[in-house]
Symmetry: C2
Subunit: 373 residues, 2 copies
Amino acid sequence: MQVEPQTFDRVLSSMCTEPHPDARTAAERFLATNPGDPGTYPAITELEEEAVSTLGEIAGLDSPAGYVASGGTEANIQAVRIARDRFESRDAGRLSNRSETEMPNVVMPESGHFSFQKAANVLGVKLRIVPTDEDHRADLEAVRHSVDERTALVVGVAGTTEYGRVDPIPELGEIARSVDALFHVDAAWGGFVLPFTDYEWNFSHAPIDTMAIDPHKMGQAAVPAGGLLARDETLLDELAIDTPYLESTSQATLTGTRSGAGVASAVAAMEALWPGGYRRQYARSQRNADWLADALVARGFEVVEPTLPLVAADVPVSTFDSLRREGWRISRTATDEMRIVCMPHVTRSMLEAFIADLDRLQCRASVPVISDD
Amino acid sequence: MQVEPQTFDRVLSSMCTEPHPDARTAAERFLATNPGDPGTYPAITELEEEAVSTLGEIAGLDSPAGYVASGGTEANIQAVRIARDRFESRDAGRLSNRSETEMPNVVMPESGHFSFQKAANVLGVKLRIVPTDEDHRADLEAVRHSVDERTALVVGVAGTTEYGRVDPIPELGEIARSVDALFHVDAAWGGFVLPFTDYEWNFSHAPIDTMAIDPHKMGQAAVPAGGLLARDETLLDELAIDTPYLESTSQATLTGTRSGAGVASAVAAMEALWPGGYRRQYARSQRNADWLADALVARGFEVVEPTLPLVAADVPVSTFDSLRREGWRISRTATDEMRIVCMPHVTRSMLEAFIADLDRLQCRASVPVISDD
């Protein structure tokens, strides 16, 4: 195998990062285990309980239910699945006059992750996408107008993919309750930085039913280690499928065989870093984001204020493309802003090198090109 | 972290195994990559293309489409999803008089894996389970009677979970074609041993549309490395969801972030073992299965003939439980037979130790217990 894994020294777009050394070691030790088969692999099952318990602590939930998923996409799909199945089992009695073909709906701000599109396609629910306000947060009036008696789930985002924004979680929870819908918070990326901010985002702040919170993003675990949390074990019952051939009797996960490496590395990362290490990392990442935002503003770009460690700026597409050609891994928002995620592997010196390249390219762009012919 | 991963020296129930040393090394090197984000992690995307190409070679498909999934469950769910969406997009024109609430159906022998139950629940299709014949293979007459104009997919299994049986794949393919349904073969476990047998099971033998074939089972890759193959790229188009924020533009996988470790380890294992190493491993595993079956028959148990390296035997539940208490990881079929999978880590000396324990327990059971009081 000739291919080399690329290094992280130019990766500014990823929401994954280099695993913490303890997480890497744990992943390597538990590489050949399968938490999807707890009767055969009991040690990793024990570790998974530990992971869920710590995730609950991080997310303000005393007796958490949940599991280590393959990632935020699985956690989001499963949350929609729980809501759909709960709605449908309740629906038969409640709405006898409804058209049988009308799907349950999920109400989500436009800042929600594309995995909800996937969930809607897979699960046969209608996704009602509502606008965000001028600060890129869910517009509460729009959400209020969109929910109805067929709303199975309201989604809030705590740390959006494009701008790192936190929706008004308690208010969204109230709206969900007002129509007897479940409330899911996508904190896949934000969950490991928000505990060190003043945001109201977790189970103790709002009537949240389920949450995506991924150790393999800001939690510094190895992929695949996503997290699905549920306030109550009964919510997970909607997902259970009987499992012959296994010594356990049912399975609530979306996948079957699962990665023990991910589970073990999540436990190891959280043991090493929660809470002090994550707090320090958050502070470092936020300082880097603020520095980068200032540097971009100083160069005349329009920048979306980084309220979490994620910077979006109105850099022209041609400059963006040139930076990509220089090897920088950067990505774009839906409205073509450049987007940089200050993950743990993103250091100040990386950002300095990036800005130096940007300056060089801008300078070159402003010098008239002398034609060859 | 105090927990130790258990060793494999008593694991007889798993369809996973110790990864090949090259697979382990590759997994460790690519631990921090995400094939779900090809714009950021191009090296692992290149490796994934290599993996799909070799999987195609193994499965008799010249220009394979597909990807490295989290496992057989994801591959099976995705196959059902392709079939459902293809059926529904075609259906509008074809069946104008149908009841709008009648779901498309999937016809599967009862030997099919429980992941299809999960797929049916998630995707809203009706699973029609048909009996198997006296040799535990799909009963063709029953399948013929079960398919109809609302059949979106017929499923065949090439290496069943309980008995290692291979369904009559070409005939099932014909039945699927006769009602214009897609045909999926679940070779998640069997795919890496069947090339060395006389079975007709692959894309060159039958009109197969999609297949599950998992490197992380008999392929000796590290978890998570499942495989979804499709005869034609257009089949995967049914799955594509737009992906803003990523430099790639759409995503056909069920999960989002994915494990580079799994992909890299699949490539490394297949480079090391295809075809000679897998051929030798199949021969070893089959000899072990035959030896174990003979040993059990000699002790008076009823044994299902192991036509692939998997042994099921009518061992009483009390003896089964005693063996579990001795630390043997064994599991049961739906009809309570003991089931042992001769994976690469299962050696002759392990099986000898197992039979010695069985003899000791049988002997003890036949001696009257002297009561303490």
